[in-house]
């Protein structure tokens, strides 16, 4: 008798746990050939709210981790991804990418994680400053994480784009609530499993799958999300910006209607980190 496969139930990674949507809804995912692959959770605004709560719990601890420690944890994530890179490549290929292209995307994603692992204890030295004020004060500017960042990934490059949007946020101590590619969500499910084994504290990165149309309005108006980092169409950009205005949210949105080369060098680095931090300037008198 042939052995029957144990098929995996894809679950979202929220608050360090693997969850189904509170709605109990799923979306059937098919591979490139049209065959049924798995049921993917169809998260709702309540799942988004729960994810924000999880991020809020994890945030202060993550921001307080030493830069060195954050770097080690990100590097550990790269190790976890490397170990399962062929599985990741298969997940990316589900959407129709060639095996070579999928492997290339996975490799670039892992490189990107390593790249940011190296930034955790360096960006401050690039972005911060000691400012030579004219009065008898010592004045310095440091960076601080903004808080909880809403990430909305594009449909394409389901792994590389997702990590490219998440990494600059968590490098500096932010937490992330991310909505994965709508058409190719499965790599995000695997990424969640790797995050879970990477020493990254639960809740720092929360990955949701689901319908953009349901989630975007909540990303727009949830006041606890302090910034949005994503790739969306024109209508969603307007919705997100309108909502962002209500709580003066920081918005960094790329256009889904324009091609984006996620492999490019400028899609990573300190300028991406800069977009998701606050500058704090402290003054103190110099006297005896």
């Amino acid at each position: 008798m042939t052995r029957i496969n144990i098929s995996k139930t894809p679950k979202c990674y929220v608050g360090g746990a693997f969850i189904r949507s509170e709605s109990g809804r799923v979306t059937a995912l098919h591979d490139a050939s049209g065959a049924f692959f798995a049921n993917i959770p169809q998260c709702t605004r309540k799942d988004l709210r729960n994810a924000v709560e999880a991020a809020a719990k994890a945030g202060p601890g993550w921001a307080k981790r030493s830069a060195f420690n954050r770097g080690q944890i990100l590097y550990r994530l790269a190790e976890m991804m490397e170990a399962r890179s062929s599985e990741l490549a298969e997940a990316v290929a589900l959407g129709g990418a060639s095996k070579a292209d999928a492997s290339r995307e996975v490799a670039a994603s892992i490189e990107r994680v390593v790249h940011y692992a190296g930034w955790t204890d360096k960006y401050e030295q690039i972005l911060g400053s000691v400012n030579p004020v004219a009065s008898a004060h010592f004045n310095f500017t440091v960076t601080e994480p903004m808080g909880i960042i809403g990430v909305i990934a594009p449909d394409d490059s389901p792994l590389l784009a997702l990590v490219s949007l998440i990494l600059p946020a968590i490098t500096s101590g932010n937490c992330v609530v991310a909505l994965a590619s709508g058409t190719q969500p499965y790599p995000s499910i695997l990424l969640g499993e790797m995050l879970a084994t990477s020493d990254l504290p639960g809740g720092v990165v929360n990955l949701l799958t689901g319908l953009r149309s349901e989630m975007v309005p909540t990303f727009a108006t949830h006041e606890h999300l302090r910034a949005l980092n994503g790739v969306v169409n024109a209508a969603d950009r307007k919705t997100l910006k309108l909502g962002a205005a209500e709580s003066v949210k920081r918005v960094h949105l790329l256009k889904a209607e324009e091609p984006i080369d996620w492999f490019a060098d400028k899609k990573q680095g300190v300028e991406e980190i800069r977009a998701l931090i606050e500058f704090k300037t402290t003054w103190h008198p110099v006297g005896a």
């Binding site: 004060h137 008198p285 110099v286 005896a288």
Partner: protein
Amino acid sequence: MPAAKAPTSLRRLFDEIGTVDQVGIEERVATFTTRSLKKKSKVFGLRLAVSMVDLTTLEGKDTPGKVASLCQKALCPHDVGDIPPTAAVCVYPAMVKHARKHVGGTSVKIASVATAFPSGQAPLKTRLAEVRAAVKDGADEIDMVINRGAFLSGEFGRMQDEIAAVVEACGQATLKVILEVSELETYDNIRAASFLAMRVIRPGDFIKTSTGKTSSNATLGNNQVMLEAIRDHFLATGIPISMKPAGGIRTAKQALHFLIAVKETLGDEWLNNRRYRFGASALLNDLVRQLEKERTGAYQAPWNFSEATEGY
């Protein structure tokens, strides 16, 4: 008068009296220099300053003749205009009896530096003997120096006991306690020393910034530290202590800045020469000169006012 129980460490003293931020207090005093005094308010300030001067000569080459002319000037700073006499003349103990001949019985007091001025580095017995001699010769006021060595080495009790001994030696004479702020260096130390001194002197006695014999003297900054100490001491105990900045105040404009500090820190009750003095020699000339300018409307040449000959 026995010394109050002295704190055992500066740390404990600061817990009690609080500290001073250097940059902050210097910003505060800078605002005094932007006050603009016009017309009557300027004349009032200048005349008040004249009445607060302890006209001082403290030189090795002082003679009875020099003291005589100093006394004349104190009694009548200028021959025209309605200019008040100064508060006092301030001389070495050996000159007290000469000063007495000229200002005795007038409103001008005789102040004398004593206690091995300016260093204070003589045995206590010698210092007290000097105080008693000056008082016996007719000094109304004694300007003493504190034992900075005792303060800086943490012997607060000793420092206070010595002040208390001088208080006793003064008898009826008013005491001015010179902290010699340049040797205390920090505002925190100046505040601490002010409190230690104020706790063993009498109402109406003074604390004073400097001897005028070291590199830096009265500044608006250290004046302010001491005014605020006096204020806090008064509000806590009801004992009014008087204040005397000395050395380095040479111009009328400077004197007015110091007086604005008094007006805005201690208020009207300190704007008189029982509560505030200037220890100065050249200042009086400029005060009179500016008063004459206000009276006549014309800027005055310096040679009408100064005994110095170096001007041109």
